[in-house]
C-alpha cells in the first residue's frame, strides 16, 4: 500500500504520514458519526420510539450537530484536577484505540502495517487505553472517577487474559500472528472460515473443531466486549452507580475524544473477531471481480465485506447493550477468572489435541 502512496506523493515520509492518517479520516470519524447515530436509532427502535428525528431526514445529521455542540462547549477543568494529566488522558486513550487500527487488514491491499506480530501488537497497544483511563480518573480528583478508573483498569487487565488465550488458540491453528496471513488463509468460501474449522484444512479434523471454535469465538467476543467496557460490562462508567465513571469531569472536546475512542474500540474489537473467526476481508461467496474478470474490483469487494462484517458485530454489541442489565464488579471478575479463563485454557488444550490428530 505504501508503494502506491509513495508513487503518488513522491516521498516516503509523506506517504507514511498519509497512510497513518488514512483510517482516521476515511473510516474512524465517519464510522463514529454513523455509529453514534446508529446506536441511538437501534436503541430507539428497540424501545418503541423513534430516536432523533429533527436534524436532517430522520435525524441523520444529529451526530454532526452534537459534534458541533461539543466543539463549542466550554472546556471545564475542575480546580483540584491535575491539569497536565487531565488534558493528556483523552489523547492517550484515543492513541491506544487508534494504534490498534495499524495492524487491522481492511483489504488485501489496505493494511496499515503488515507486521508479523499483528494480533499480539493489537493486544499490547490496548494497554495504552488502560493507562489513559487511569490517568483521567486520577487527574479528575473525583472519587467517582477514581473508582471508575480502578474498576476499568482491573477489568481490562483481567479480560486481556482470556482474550490472549483464545488468540493463542487461533495462532496455534493458523501458525501465524499476522492478521493478513490469517485472513488470506480463510479465502474463497465461508466454510473456510475459522469458526467452521477452516484453519485445520479439511476432513474430519475440521468438523471436530467446529464446536470448539464456536466456544473460542464466544469467549473472545465476551472478553473483547468487556475490554471495550460495553454493557453488560460497562461497570467503569455505570451511570447508576458512578455517575459517568472515569469521564465524569470531562466536557466538550475532551469528552468527545473518550467517546471517539470508545466507538473506535468497538469497531476494532469487532474487526479482531471478524479477522480471527469470520474470514476477515474475505467474501463468503466468492468474488464478483473474479467472475467478471475485473481484478481491481476484488480489493474493493474485500473492503466492503470487511466493513460489513465489522459493522454487523458492532450492531450485535449495541443489541446486547440495550437488552441486558449490568453485572456487578465482583461478578464481572468471577465471570472472567472462574469461567472464561478455565474454559479458554481447556479449549486451547482440546484444539491443540485435535489439530495434532
Amino acid at each position: 500500500m505504501y508503494d502506491i502512496l509513495t508513487n503518488i506523493f513522491g516521498n516516503q515520509i509523506v506517504a507514511y504520514i498519509i497512510g497513518a492518517a488514512l483510517p482516521l479520516f476515511v473510516w474512524i470519524l465517519p464510522f463514529v458519526l454513523f455509529a453514534v447515530l446508529g446506536e441511538r436509532k437501534v436503541s430507539a427502535h428497540m424501545q418503541d420510539r423513534l430516536g432523533p428525528m429533527r436534524v436532517g431526514y430522520h435525524g441523520i445529521l444529529q451526530t454532526v450537530a452534537d459534534l458541533l455542540k461539543l466543539l463549542q462547549k466550554e472546556d471545564i477543568v475542575t480546580p483540584a484536577a491535575d491539569r497536565k494529566l487531565f488534558n493528556l488522558a483523552p489523547y492517550i486513550v484515543f492513541l491506544g484505540s487508534y494504534a490498534a487500527f495499524a495492524a487491522i487488514p481492511f483489504s488485501s491491499i489496505y493494511i496499515g502495517s503488515g507486521i508479523e506480530v499483528g494480533i499480539f501488537y493489537i493486544l499490547a497497544v490496548s494497554s495504552f487505553v488502560v493507562v489513559g483511563i487511569l490517568m483521567g480518573g486520577w487527574a479528575s480528583d473525583n472519587k467517582y472517577s477514581l473508582l471508575g478508573a480502578m474498576r476499568s483498569a482491573a477489568q481490562i487487565v483481567s479480560y486481556e487474559i482470556p482474550t490472549a488465550i483464545v488468540v493463542l488458540t487461533l495462532v496455534m491453528l493458523t501458525g501465524t500472528l499476522n492478521l493478513n496471513t490469517i485472513s488470506q488463509q480463510q479465502t474463497a468460501y465461508f466454510w473456510n472460515w475459522n469458526i467452521l474449522g477452516g484453519a485445520a484444512g479439511s476432513g474430519i479434523t475440521q468438523i471436530l473443531l467446529i464446536p470448539f471454535m464456536v466456544i473460542a469465538f464466544v469467549i473472545l467476543f465476551i472478553s473483547t466486549l468487556a475490554e471495550v467496557n460495553r454493557t453488560p460490562f460497562d461497570i467503569p462508567e455505570a451511570e447508576s452507580e458512578l455517575v459517568a465513571g472515569f469521564h465524569t469531569e470531562y466536557s466538550g472536546m475532551k469528552f468527545a475524544m473518550f467517546f471517539l475512542s470508545e466507538y473506535a474500540n468497538m469497531f476494532a474489537v469487532s474487526a479482531i473477531v471478524v479477522t480471527l473467526f469470520f474470514g476477515g476481508y474475505q467474501s463468503p461467496f466468492g468474488y464478483l471481480g473474479n467472475s467478471l474478470g475485473i481484478p481491481w474490483l476484488i480489493p474493493v469487494e474485500q473492503l466492503f465485506w470487511f466493513l460489513a462484517k465489522g459493522v454487523f458485530f458492532v450492531f450485535v454489541q449495541m443489541w446486547l447493550r440495550w437488552t441486558l442489565p449490568r453485572l456487578r464488579v465482583d461478578q464481572l471478575m468471577t465471570v472472567c477468572w472462574k469461567y472464561l479463563i478455565p474454559y479458554a485454557v481447556f479449549n486451547l488444550l482440546i484444539v491443540g489435541i485435535i489439530s495434532l490428530l
Binding site: 494529566l85 508479523e116 506480530v117 499480539f120 494497554s127 488502560v130 493507562v131 486520577w138 486481556e160
Partner: protein
C-alpha cells in the same frame, strides 16, 4: 540522515527526557505516568532494532502490566500523593563514586563491544520463529522453571489477597 535516523533520535529523546522526568518529578503519580513515555521510547528503539516481538512484549508487560500495577499501588495509598519527595543529593561523594564507576563500565562496554553495524538483510524477517524454537529446545528447563515460579507467585498472591471468612 534518513527516515529511520530521525525516528531513532525521536524515540531516544522521548526515552531520555521522560526518564529524566521520572527521577526528577516531585509528584510520585507524575513520575509513574512519565514511565509510560520511557517505556514507549524503549519500545520504539526495539522496533528499530528489528526486535518486533520484544517490542510488543515490552508494551504488554511494562505498560500493560507493571506500570498499571505501579499506578494502582500509588493511587490506592492515597496519602502518598501529598508526600514531598526529596530528589536532592544526600551523600555527594558516594554518589559521584557510584555514578563514575557505572559510567566507566558502560563506556568501556561501548568501546569493546563488536557492534553489528550492517543493515539487516531482510527487515521483514521476524524473530518470533527463532525465539519460540529456542525457548522450547535449548532453554526449555528454564522456561518451565519460570512457569512454576510464576505459578507459585500467583498462588501466594491469591492466598494473601483472599478474604478471611469471619
Amino acid at each position: 540522515m534518513n527516515l529511520y535516523d530521525i525516528i531513532f533520535y525521536l524515540f531516544a529523546a522521548i526515552t531520555i527526557i521522560s526518564g529524566f522526568a521520572v527521577v526528577s518529578s516531585k509528584n510520585i503519580v507524575h513520575a509513574a505516568f512519565n514511565l509510560l513515555f520511557t517505556f514507549f521510547g524503549v519500545t520504539g528503539i526495539y522496533v528499530l532494532l528489528g526486535a518486533d516481538f520484544i517490542a510488543v512484549v515490552q508494551v504488554i508487560v511494562y505498560i500493560g502490566g507493571i506500570l498499571i500495577l505501579l499506578l494502582f499501588g500509588v493511587m490506592l495509598t492515597n496519602k502518598i500523593t501529598s508526600v514531598d519527595i526529596k530528589s536532592g543529593t544526600l551523600h555527594v561523594i558516594p554518589a559521584v563514586l557510584g555514578v563514575g564507576i557505572f559510567a566507566g563500565v558502560l563506556i568501556s562496554l561501548m568501546y569493546t563491544t563488536n557492534w553489528k553495524t550492517s543493515v539487516l538483510s531482510d527487515p521483514g524477517n521476524t524473530t518470533i520463529y527463532n525465539l519460540g524454537k529456542l525457548l522450547i529446545t535449548d532453554y526449555v528447563l528454564i522456561f518451565e522453571l519460570l512457569g512454576i515460579l510464576l505459578l507459585v507467585a500467583l498462588i501466594g498472591a491469591a492466598s494473601i489477597a483472599r478474604r478471611e471468612k469471619d
